[in-house]
């Protein structure tokens, strides 16, 4: 069951990625082209997923609509991961004062509720893709650090690592060739779940007007735009909402699947 769903999610994700990357080739229309004759057309031959109030093709907008969010989500999570894991590894491996210091900082960042903090940072920095990434990174790197540190501590206790330290291998080589490969599965799973969560955050921020800015077509922005019309034309929110949902569901399912493959208990990651 998990296996099938897991593989299915990989296929879905690949499709979503390909569609997003080759949006300009695939999409039947320019996502900003306004077909004045066919506004709110409903599902038709010409517009498979209908058009929005301005006559823009929903299918094309949905095809383009994942681009910014996914890009921002993946980038922000990768940066968070790099910073967070780096801190976690240093903290867990070297221990002592450095560890205490980093742990304290991590605790501080973890104590601020993520959504509140992200809204505040995005607010202070102002809207825009760069700032959005920055806001997400600032508010989420600590999560990586804490978990990676715990994993490093576990690995560090393995006898062979102790032996290597004893034999005088350099810290860098131990970290690079032994610690990191050992905790990689965890990091990958963590990365997957966190990308899913970043996407949810970005969606919420965009919905609030703090994320992706118009006229870039974006799933969450499309939902917000449709708030005047969705009662008569529910597809206006169902279509983009479903796209977000499927993307995140696939990412989460993939995370579950990876967890099964690597045989890692889930609560360590949450």
């Amino acid at each position: 069951m998990n296996k099938i769903l897991g593989k299915l999610s990989i296929i879905v994700l690949i499709i979503i990625l390909l569609v997003s990357i080759f949006a300009n080739i695939i999409s039947p229309y320019d996502p900003n082209f306004q077909d004045k004759e066919n506004r709110l057309s409903g599902f038709t031959q010409e517009h498979k997923l209908g058009t929005d109030p301005l006559g823009r093709d929903m299918l094309s907008r949905v095809i383009y609509g994942g681009r910014s969010s996914i890009l921002i989500g993946v980038l922000a999570t990768l940066v968070s991961m790099t910073i967070g894991s780096g801190m976690g590894i240093i903290s867990g491996y070297f221990g002592g004062r450095l560890d205490k210091f980093i742990t304290s900082i991590t605790n501080i960042f973890q104590a601020l509720p993520q959504m509140a903090f992200t809204i505040a940072i995005a607010g202070v920095l102002g809207p825009g893709i760069k700032n959005l990434i920055l806001a997400l990174v600032i508010s989420s790197w600590a999560g990586f650090s804490r978990i990676v540190r715990a994993e490093v501590l576990k690995v560090k206790e393995e006898p062979y690592i102790e032996a290597m330290v004893y034999l005088g291998s350099s810290d860098l080589s131990i970290i690079l060739f032994h610690i990191i490969p050992n905790i990689m599965p965890n990091i990958i799973i963590l990365l997957t779940t966190r990308i899913g969560r970043s996407l949810l955050s970005i969606a919420a921020l965009s919905f609030l007007g703090l994320g992706v800015q118009p006229p870039n077509p974006d799933w969450s922005v499309m939902i917000n735009d449709a708030r005047l019309y969705y009662r008569s034309y529910p597809y206006l929110i169902v279509v983009p909402g479903f796209s977000i949902f499927i993307t995140i569901l696939s990412i989460n399912t993939l995370g579950d699947y990876l967890r099964d493959i690597f045989d890692i208990r889930s609560e360590e990651i949450i």
Binding site: F109, A111, P113, A116, G123, T253
Partner: protein, 314 residues
């Protein structure tokens, strides 16, 4: 035990200083001159003299660390400054708005706990059986739903089509159902997942095998023996969730027109009302620290091993 408490208090103190510093910095890096922002109103621009006077009044002419200390001092006196946009005391605004958010968070955490724990226990007991897979599927789906989308669908279905639930504002239990449910889905499904795996982890322990071998009823086995052990890590997570729900209510409050601290936080972003934003971040952080510390204490009370022996690390 004593050392543990000292260590704990110390780390809480550091965290508190840290979050106050971060919220203070939010104000420092925020664009615009606070003195000018605090004076200007629509249709009125303050003179340079006024701004300069206000700078001195607000202590903005002092070095930054002094400013921080003064800021903290004021906060300890309950003064978060004046809102740039409404010119009202931020403290008054928070006092007015916080109960709404708090109530919402309470409802959400109850939904999270009751359903999360129940689903997790059922799934854990029936590990890998169809019902477990079903619960897993459901929680996975709920976990992936954007809150705002769901909230809109809720309004569409329950308020407009069926007309059974009110859409907005704060008028009691019925008004809180949809906001609280939308707000708790993600935390609820996470709780269910953690509860499930915590149960399963307990099943791997010796006491479970022994208890099972005693031939006692399923209820005694799962509810009396396993659950109290399995729930401990879940309590910690619930504590975390309460904090993050408090700080994550913005979207839901905005959609359901609840005038809580979150919906205004979004407004304050647009209106560059940084004193409010600072207070919001600081207070949600504080609430988080407070609740998680309370949960730590609760766990100490529940766990006799820690309570009687002071054995924290087992």
């Amino acid at each position: 035990m004593k050392e543990y408490i000292i260590e704990k208090v110390k780390s809480i103190f550091i965290v508190l200083v840290g979050i106050s510093l971060l919220s203070f910095l939010l104000g420092v890096v925020s664009p615009g001159d606070p003195a000018e922002l605090s004076l200007s109103k629509y249709g009125y621009s303050p003179t340079p003299q006024e701004i300069e006077a206000r700078r001195v009044e607000m202590g903005l002419d002092k070095p930054i660390h002094i400013q921080y200390i003064n800021w903290v001092k004021n906060i300890l006196k309950g003064d978060f400054g004046k809102s740039f946009s409404t010119k009202e005391n931020v403290t008054d605004m928070i006092i007015r708005k916080a109960p709404v958010t708090f109530k919402l968070a309470m409802y959400s955490i109850v939904i999270t706990s009751v359903f999360g724990i129940s689903l997790g226990v059922i799934a854990g007991i029936n590990k890998n059986k169809p019902i477990d897979n079903l619960i897993k599927l459901i929680t996975n789906i709920l976990f992936s739903l954007p809150t705002f989308w769901l909230a809109l669908l809720f309004i569409l279905i329950f308020s407009e089509k069926l007309g059974i639930l009110p859409t907005s504002g704060d008028g009691g239990f019925k008004y809180m159902i949809m906001p609280a449910v939308s707000l708790s889905l993600i935390t609820m499904s996470t709780t269910a997942m953690v509860m499930r795996s915590s149960m399963i982890q307990e099943f791997g322990k010796q006491y479970y095998t022994f208890a099972k071998a005693k031939g006692i009823s399923k209820y005694d086995l799962y509810i009396k023996n396993v659950l109290p052990n399995a729930i401990l890590p879940v309590l910690t997570i619930l504590g975390n969730f309460f904090g993050s729900i408090l700080g994550g209510s913005a979207v839901v409050e905005t959609i359901f027109a609840l005038s809580g601290i979150g919906s205004y936080a979004v407004e304050s972003v647009f209106s560059k009302d940084f004193p409010y934003l600072q207070a919001y971040v600081l207070l949600t952080g504080l609430a988080f620290v407070l609740v998680t510390s309370l949960v730590d204490i609760l766990i100490i009370i529940i766990n006799p091993k820690i309570r009687l022996k002071g054995d924290i690390y087992e």
